[in-house]
Amino acid sequence: MSIKSTTRLLFIFSICLFYRTSNAQLKDELGAIHGNFQIDAANYQRDTIIGTPELEGKTFRYNAFGNINYQKGGFSAGVRFESYNPPMLGFLDGYKGSGVPYRFARYQHKDIDITVGNFYEQFGSGITLRAYENRGLLYDNALDGMRVIFTPKKGIVLKGLVGKQRTYFSLSEGVVRGVDGEVNLMELFDSILGKSKTKVILGGSFVSKYQQDQSPTLVLPENVGNSAGRLTIIRGGFNFNAEYAYKINDPSYENKNSYKEGQAIIASTSYGTDGFSIMLSGKMIDNMSFKSNRDMQTPTINLINYQPDFSKFHTYSLMAYYPYATQPNGEVGGTGEIQYKFKKGTLLGGKYGMDITINGSSYYALDTTGLNQSQDSIRHLKYSTNYGNVGEKYYHDFNIEITKKLSKKLKITLMYANQFFNQSLVRFGTPNKEEHPDVSSHIGVLDITWRYKTGSSIRFETQGFFGEYDYKEHKYDANGDKNITSNTGSWISGLIEWTPTTHWSITVADQYNYNNPVEIKRVHYYFGMIGYTNGPTRVSISYGRQREGVFCAGGVCRQVPSSSGLTLSISSSF
């Protein structure tokens, strides 16, 4: 690392410390000011062994943001400053720059709640509208406009909004307008029905987008509506949710300009009691990608809605090596999970009890038939769907997790997963299985935490990813090398995390691609980190290699290139 970069890192670090110490919580009769900030900065180095991208001198990169919010009574206002010059590897280059993309003023009084400026919102499951932010993905589709929430009577909530979506540091081309109403029948008819143990909530939403038609070759709908109805029933530990949505013709880059209508049915039910819970979720989604700019090609930009993802979110890295996210143009499938706690004193529970979680997901393509151009020259529907059947398999994940405390100081977690990933269709959008074969894998995790004294612990973690690839033709190229670009073979990893005091933690880890089909790529991805935490402030410095991969959260994914270098992260709040 050059002296210049080191100086810059130290400079940022000292500014942050100063900022932190000079901004205690300001609270008096004038209202309260709160805020938080975070800086992640990295100095990357070229690493030809793992194939890091050529950065042409832009080796120092950072993502930074700070929120400052003011509140007094029913009034609140806030701004968020963000800066990426340029953004860290794996985040969209479009964010390069600095600015204040989020500012709002909100007033809440009795039955009315008005926001002007930027806001986040969700209608039902999000299938018609969900404006939200995920810092880890740098996903932010905040609306810039106005929102009114009106509660005319206990049990009734009406929402109306209009705005444009954030697109990097500017706004999207299209305008989003939406209304949502929700009625809690039991609250509404409290006096008639009396205090019922069952809660029934009905809701409906309608969202429309407007974007000018500038196409020379197609007549595009300038106004596209998406509507949904939903039902929730809750009684004791039992919970049932269902939503149906319908979207009119919405040709876009994402659906290859199909004028077919979109439909979705989403349902989930769960039951929980002491020490036991069960959850089942299912969905059928067809052509429900809904973007405020129909020409937008970047998958995570300008999405108005959110197509729920029920597959398990894995926190162990090798379990999440091939993560799944809802396919934007359609899928059918479901997820189920059972959790059970063996009580203390039982055969399996032993002295401290034992937790077991069994989870399974399976998702398929829709069974579709392409329409011949001669039949489809007027409507441009592109395909029809046979709802009675399913198409090619996209993904499955069956996993079991057992957590058991062996003694007062020792806790152990064991996990096993069997996964299948149709990477040609899910990740690369091509039926070419020669370049991108299906991956079946067995993954195991062993995680041991030893609390050797109060506030001090050592955690050992080891993982193994054993992949089976369905090799097709063209297994070897002219030089006799295995010629399958996206096959990295099996992996093992190890991690030791030492927390000597509650303030400090030290981590060393390694992932080893021990049987990569290309021998020179059988390399170690070593990683080390030192972290310091004090109240709301956390500082960490890490050094090592980051493997190329896909990072997903809440069904939204980003591609992360391989990288190598030094990273500094500082966050705090006041």
Binding site: G94, G160, V179, F206, S208, P216, T217, L218, R379
Partner: protein, 302 residues
């Protein structure tokens, strides 16, 4: 007061419901009558050696594409449509680069060039996906720089309506004996220009038949084996980023020339299907219009 709020809410909901859905029964635009006069284009002369209209600013429309890109034929059709609608005002160029232009047994024809790949890398088109285009490379560094083909026409119209800063004239001499091409481009400043400029000379070829993926066709028959490729970038006659021109300023009516002699045309290219393309652009990295193509000219080889 509450009653009024209810009434307003109800009216708003009704307005949104009935005003916000456009059902399209026929996705094709109405066919314009062939007798339509269209824009007055008869004064444009494509052969720039005889006359290039000094009042016309032309638009370089770059279509970044690839044979494995199933959505790209729709963009190529848009380019054809623009050429027909604005004859003489558009200089089309198809640049095959990135993942969708790579080869495999189904798509063995290599349309990639080092020049095209440098443009693609510099402008980040493959990262944004194909098809995508640039119109006179306006807006470099801004969110709207890379344009989806549905927005090309909207970007072309203001460009070809603007006053040109330069006029370009292309002359060539081709020796059929040694297959060597001598090109001379004359640039005339039509205003008082004092920036940093560079001039690039390229070669493109039409009517190449090869395989192309087209998602508009039914599944199973989406590979067209005899697709006709037009305006394919074949290489730079001088270099991808060009030669400096008007290094000591470009006052009104000043003239400078750039010549390139003995350029060898690849023998596999059909000469009479080739075009010479010349463009002058803003080469000042500190300028807000960095990379913008200020004038472009095209000449068909005969």
């Amino acid at each position: 007061m509450k009653k009024t709020i209810y009434q307003i809410a109800v009216i708003l909901v009704i307005m949104i419901f009935f005003g916000s859905c456009d059902y399209v029964k026929n996705a094709n635009p109405p066919v314009e009558p062939t007798t339509s006069a269209g824009p007055a284009t008869n004064i444009y002369v494509s052969d720039s050696t005889t006359n290039s209209n000094p009042n016309l600013r032309k638009a370089l429309v770059e279509d970044y594409t690839g044979h494995k890109c199933g959505n790209c034929p729709a963009a190529a059709d848009t380019l054809k449509y623009l050429e027909n609608k604005y004859p003489g005002s558009i200089v089309p160029l198809a640049i095959h680069a990135g993942f969708f232009a790579s080869l495999n047994p189904t798509y063995p024809t290599d349309f990639r060039t080092t020049t095209g790949t440098s443009y693609d890398t510099q402008f980040g088109i493959s990262n944004a996906g194909n098809p995508n285009g640039l119109i006179n490379r306006i807006g470099y560094g801004t969110g709207g720089f890379i344009k989806a083909y549905t927005s090309w026409e909207g970007a072309v119209v203001p460009q070809i309506s603007a006053s040109p800063k330069f006029q370009l004239l292309i002359k060539y001499k081709y020796d059929t004996g040694n297959l060597k091409l001598n090109t001379e481009v004359t640039a005339k400043s039509l205003a008082s220009n004092n920036g940093i400029y560079k001039l690039v000379i390229l070669l493109s070829e039409d009517s190449i038949i090869a395989e192309q993926l087209d998602y508009r066709l039914p599944a199973g028959s989406q590979v067209i084996t005899n697709y006709e490729f037009s305006h394919v970038l074949r290489g730079a006659i001088n270099s991808a980023w060009g030669d400096p021109i008007f290094s000591s300023g470009a006052p009104l009516n000043s003239i400078e020339k750039i010549s390139k002699i003995d350029y060898q045309i690849n023998t596999s290219y059909k000469k009479d299907k080739c075009h010479i393309i010349a463009y002058i652009y803003d080469a000042d990295p500190t300028s807000p219009t960095y990379y913008e193509v200020l004038q472009v000219e095209e000449l068909h080889l005969k």
